[in-house]
């Protein structure tokens, strides 16, 4: 068994009366790619945002590489966040800066590299997402797919050990989505990163996921390999995988 880089126990988070995740337990193993599937509003983003401390749970524990992170102050999360990058749903590029300023941001914040060294790394990361030569462009002038790729380059700038992906393909056409999927796959291989990918895009999940978890009713109703997933007898999960509509009784 590979070692777990994340150990999550009894994680619970509610907003008002809405219990979004309820006593969630899972591990993320070093070097693997875990895909979290679930319907819209099932709490995938809420779960992911616990893994780098963007939000605090009501109860439960998140242990990253031996450290309990749910009790850490914003300031004490800095070491974790240098090792764990996050790719946001809309890219979340800084509107006010160029592509170069965006990708170089983590390098300027956390390294003492010279301007030349930074420029070299930015070039290399942009080449990796196949967007060389757009350094001076503003995010507002990029297409949705290009924004996601620039955001991917930015999240990889510091060579993170773990990357958290929130819906990397939502809002993109299938071909652009596949391009992003293959980029994620190749960065996982080349940089040996661990990744957690939240999505409801099944082809992407099959492409990038070593293991798959299905979030339903605040818990994982399934965690396992794709082979087991395809053999699962959980009616909701198999319908979800097959892309079928909800059963009559589930339609409000």
């Amino acid at each position: 068994m590979p070692s777990a880089i994340y150990n999550i126990r009894g994680l619970t988070k509610s907003y008002g009366d809405n219990v979004v995740i309820d006593e969630l337990d899972f591990e993320v193993y070093a070097g693997e790619s875990l895909v979290i599937l679930g319907r819209s509003g099932s709490g995938k983003s809420v779960t992911l945002r616990q893994l780098n401390g963007l939000e605090k749970p009501d109860s439960g524990s998140v242990i990253f590489d031996g450290t309990e992170i749910t009790t850490l102050e914003e300031r004490d999360l800095v070491p974790l966040r240098r090792r764990v990058a996050m790719l946001f749903q809309g890219g979340a590029l800084f509107d006010s800066g160029t592509v170069f300023e965006n990708v170089s941001f983590p390098l300027r914040e956390h390294t003492d590299l010279t301007d030349d060294e930074i420029a070299e790394i930015v070039d290399q990361k942009l080449a990796m997402v196949r967007l060389s030569g757009i350094d001076g462009v503003l995010p507002a002038d990029l297409s949705g797919g290009m924004k996601k790729r620039v955001a991917l380059a930015r999240s990889l700038a510091l060579d993170p050990e773990v990357v958290l992906f929130d819906e990397p393909t939502t809002g993109l056409d299938p071909m652009t989505g596949a391009t992003i999927g293959h980029l994620i796959r190749s960065t996982q291989r080349d940089m040996k990163t661990t990744s957690v990918v939240v999505t409801h895009d099944i082809p992407l999940a099959r492409l990038v996921g070593d293991r798959v978890a299905f979030l339903e009713g605040g818990r994982f109703s399934f965690v396992g390999s794709w082979d087991d997933a395809d053999r699962s007898e959980d009616p909701i999960f198999s319908r979800f995988l097959a892309g079928l509509e909800e059963e009559e009784s589930h339609v409000a």
Partner: protein, 254 residues
């Protein structure tokens, strides 16, 4: 709507504003100092606001001069318009008008910018890259406002007094020398420092409210719009109400 939301939970808002202030203060004094960001904000605020500040204060000075001269013509009040114009401007109208007009713009701009960053997850992205949004975004805006609002107020005072001079010479047949002597005789160091002192407080209120409403915005573009209106309302009320207490305070101090 915006008024009730802004006042519905005054204690909680006051608590969060104090926390944000404390956080911003700690982040401001801790190196590294992001001078480049500070200067960029100052430029933005200064350039964006110069025109409105100038027009507001010149015309206020002119109106003050006219009103004063016409109010009690029989007792020759026009020979004191230098005193009236300069004292009212420097102590009261300069700081307050500049804070209301320029401050409304600056504050609303801050809320719109930070609110948009909040709802598009740019603030979270910054946090996820282990950078402090308060240090990167709030501190430069706060510092820039604390520098530029008093500076614009001083400039506004000059222009307002100049406005008074134009009316004094053009309409009231006074000489420039007479008016300027009157102004210089009347103005004391206390007037000047109390006016600038007020404007520092106003600057702090405007910037902290503008940033606060942006950082706590939610609910997409709609939410950012509401937060922006909220900033203008909250900042204006706070400027006007605190002005009363600050006036009292500065009379006691000096």
């Amino acid at each position: 709507m915006s008024l009730t939301t802004s006042l519905q939970n005054p204690l909680r808002v006051a608590g969060r504003l104090s926390l944000l202030s404390a956080h911003a203060f700690m982040a401001a004094i801790a190196p590294p100092y992001e001078l480049r960001l500070w200067i960029r904000e100052m430029e933005q605020i200064g350039v964006r606001s110069l025109g409105v500040a100038a027009i507001t204060t010149i015309f206020t000075g002119m109106v003050l001069a006219l009103q004063t001269a016409y109010s009690l013509p029989s007792i020759g009040v026009k020979y004191y318009i230098g005193t009236v114009v300069s004292k009212s401007l420097v102590r009261e109208l300069g700081p307050v008008l500049v804070a209301l007009i320029v401050g409304g713009r600056i504050g609303a701009g801050m809320t719109a910018e930070l609110g948009t960053m909040k709802v598009t997850e740019q603030i979270d992205a910054m946090r996820s890259m282990a950078a402090d949004p308060v240090k990167k975004l709030v501190v430069p805006k706060l510092v820039a406002t604390l520098v530029m609002l008093p500076a614009l107020t001083v400039l506004g005072d000059f222009l307002g007094i100049l406005g008074g001079l134009i009316v004094a010479m053009g309409q009231l047949q006074l000489t420039a020398g007479f008016y300027i002597n009157d102004v210089l005789d009347a103005l004391t160091l206390q007037d000047v420092s109390s006016g600038i002192g007020k404007s520092f407080f106003f600057a702090y209120f405007i910037a902290i409210i503008g940033c606060y409403n942006g950082l706590y915005a939610s609910g997409g573009a709609d939410g950012v719009g509401r937060a922006t209106t909220n900033t203008v309302v909250m900042a204006s009320i706070l400027v006007l109400v605190s002005d009363f207490f600050l006036t009292k305070l500065f009379y006691i101090l000096f």
